[in-house]
């Protein structure tokens, strides 16, 4: 996934990744990435049909585009 992200970023398009595998993603050095703590593959954007939670995670992810750059790091946040 990070390989794809880095390739898109190299074409001059800002990218941000939602990951549930923060250690693996960090090793691959993503330009921007957010990990909702404790989530597993299959619901990286939150519980099914929980629109408010999904949009919360989605906006936090998109707002990393506006945040101070931390290229190569994965930002971990709690959504409980």
């Amino acid at each position: 996934m990070v390989t794809v992200q880095r390739a898109i970023e190299m074409l001059g398009i800002p990218t941000v990744l939602v990951t549930v595998e923060p250690e693996e993603s960090a090793q691959a050095r993503p330009p921007r990435a957010l990990c909702p703590r404790g989530y597993i593959a299959g619901h990286s954007l939150g519980r099914p049909n929980d629109e408010a939670l999904q949009k919360w995670i989605l906006m936090d992810t998109l707002e990393l585009l506006l945040a101070d750059p931390k290229p190569g790091e994965v930002i971990i946040r709690d959504y409980t």
Partner: protein, 140 residues
Amino acid sequence: MEKALELSRYCVPFTPFKRKLEESLVCLVSTAGVRAKVDAPFNLEGDNSFKRIDGSLSAIELAVDDTHYDHGCIDKDVNCVFPIDRLRSLAREGRIAGLTEEHFSMGFSQALRELRETTVPQLARAVSAARPDAVLLTGG
């Protein structure tokens, strides 16, 4: 002929984001094996292709081909891994400008070299041609 230089893993590509989110078209790119239900499935044994997903589709019109994670959530709501309805909702609220006309997904593959040398560059060019202001990537 010498092989082209590749970017070291220690070097992180970074394109500054200079717009406002409210003025930005967002493109979704996933490796979760998402596709339109009307399209042919990904090969679950290994598939090095990527698929285009029409930006007008809703999550209910999408399917997921994957055997590597629990489908309990996505069977109820594909937005759990491919939040196309939620992005559209954010656009209605004016928090982003909208979605690109196409989104993209890859399936499962262990042919890493072909992925790196062929699929990923093709996918990145296809994403660029969709002219997004920002790209959101999701795994599973």
